[in-house]
């Protein structure tokens, strides 16, 4: 009889190359020989990313290659609010402004010192819309936390050593923020793209804008696509109270030399992920 349980390690590793992340986990639960191989590889391989989203309070993950939704348990999220994803870490914050970074599968955690955001009485319960970190805090203490908050009008910056965060108020609604090529960039509701300049005062320097899609209801995301700064326009329309549907996506590459938007018709077979993305294994 063929002995599949004791297949050689090298052969099992060849098979692992072609499994999706979820298939790969189930593979590890078959028998102890398979588990041993699984255990060795689990830390090294990079898998096709999962999209993380919330169904009510329940975190769910989805991978378009498998077309299956899984509910995952992140007990650490119970008292925390998820505000971003940077460098493989979920960024979470609680009402006392403690920031915690978490890798949702390995459950590795890093506690950052409380970020002293600037809050007034009335915006105490207003949540952060989006947070990003300039570099991996588990590797270096030279990082900056940036967050969009207060109805998307304020930007806060904080780095280790600061006693309080530096806050600026924008004149327009901020849609997204990204750390790209050594600087923070933000995009406003009307497509204003600004670079954040740190000096005596923090300033938003507008570098490009376009008014093409103004009348459309949309969400704008920024993505670093193989070294290019892309703006993703997700055209949406309401389908009822509190529910939206996506109509289509428009893509623009930001030409930073000419300070203009260049529409992209395709991305050559690549897949872009915006907002909540989990990079496996983490």
């Amino acid at each position: 009889m063929a002995d599949y349980a004791s297949l050689h390690k090298d052969i099992l590793q060849e098979i692992l190359k072609f499994l999706s992340f979820a298939d790969y986990i189930r593979f590890g639960a078959v028998c102890s020989q398979w588990y041993e191989v699984w255990y060795e590889v689990v830390k090294e391989k990079h898998y096709f990313p999962y999209l993380l989203f919330f169904d009510g309070d329940f975190p769910m993950i989805f991978n378009i290659l498998e077309n299956v939704v899984y509910q995952i348990e992140i007990s650490e999220l119970q008292e925390m609010h998820c505000v971003g994803f940077s460098h493989g870490w979920l960024i979470m914050i609680n009402p006392s402004f403690d920031i915690k970074l978490l890798k949702p599968f390995s459950k590795t955690q890093v506690n950052l010192p409380p970020v002293p955001f600037f809050w007034t009485e009335e915006d105490f319960d207003i949540l952060i819309n989006k947070a990003v970190i300039s570099s991996d805090p588990s590797k270096s203490s030279n990082y900056i936390v940036a967050a969009i908050y207060h109805w998307s009008y304020r930007l806060a910056f904080w780095k280790p050593g600061d006693s309080e965060s530096t806050v600026i108020t924008s004149t327009f609604i901020l849609e997204d923020i990204i750390w790209y090529n050594g600087a923070f960039y933000v995009v406003g509701k009307d497509s204003q793209v600004c670079r954040v300049e740190f000096g005596m005062n923090i300033k938003l320097i507008e570098i490009a804008s376009q008014d093409k899609w103004d009348s459309h209801r949309k969400k704008i995301y920024m993505v670093d696509f193989m070294g290019d700064l892309l703006l993703i326009y997700r055209m949406i329309y309401p389908t009822g109270y509190n529910s939206l549907k996506t109509k289509c996506f428009k893509l623009f590459k930001l030409d930073l030399e000419e300070n203009q938007f260049v529409e992209m018709k395709n991305i050559n077979g690549f897949v872009l992920f915006c907002f909540w993305v989990l990079i496996m294994p983490c």
């Binding site: 052969i11 992340f21 298939d23 986990i25 189930r26 078959v30 028998c31 509910q71």
Partner: protein, 163 residues
């Protein structure tokens, strides 16, 4: 009168004899046998005059492997090859004993293309299957320790309940 022998004809004449573990003999072109990295190395150091024993591989498996190598030494169009590979694997995966031995042999003989093809096919057989379904299909005993099982279930429990 001089006879002109083309390079192709010259190559064609280079035949090598391979002997399986159950003493079955196969005479194939050198370029076919060369698909196996291991046999290629043996041919390079020992020549092709005397038969080469392939001790760990039985006749039926070696026959099938040589069929694969022959097809893959012809340089046919990609679509033709993909179709042929698919049929080859469809047949192989029907008999799990044969499939297992084919997997070991392709690995032992170091035919990377075939190793990959078999691994993809095997991965396909595991797709969306629970560990129990996999154990049943491949006749595997669950010998996981409590710690191993707990480790997987606490860290990756979600993967066992697709919605």
């Amino acid at each position: 009168m001089a006879t002109i022998i083309t390079k192709e004809q010259q190559e064609k004449e280079k035949m090598v004899t391979l002997v399986s573990s159950d003493s079955e003999k196969f005479v194939v072109e050198q370029k076919v046998a060369e698909k196996s990295h291991v046999i290629k190395m043996v041919m390079n150091c020992c020549g092709i005059e005397s038969p080469i024993p392939v001790r760990r591989v039985k006749g039926d498996i070696l026959k099938s492997i040589l069929e694969y190598c022959e097809k893959h030494s012809k340089g046919e169009a990609q679509e033709v090859m993909e179709k042929w590979d698919k049929e080859y694997m469809d047949k192989a995966e029907k008999d799990l004993v044969f499939f297992h031995d084919l997997m070991l042999a392709s690995h032992f003989l170091h035919i990377q293309e075939l190793v990959d093809l078999i691994a993809v096919t095997f991965a396909g057989m595991l797709k969306m299957k629970s560990p129990e379904e996999i154990r049943q299909k491949f006749n595997i005993n669950n010998d996981l320790t409590k710690e191993q099982e707990e480790h997987i279930m606490t860290t990756f429990g979600w993967a066992f309940q697709p919605i």
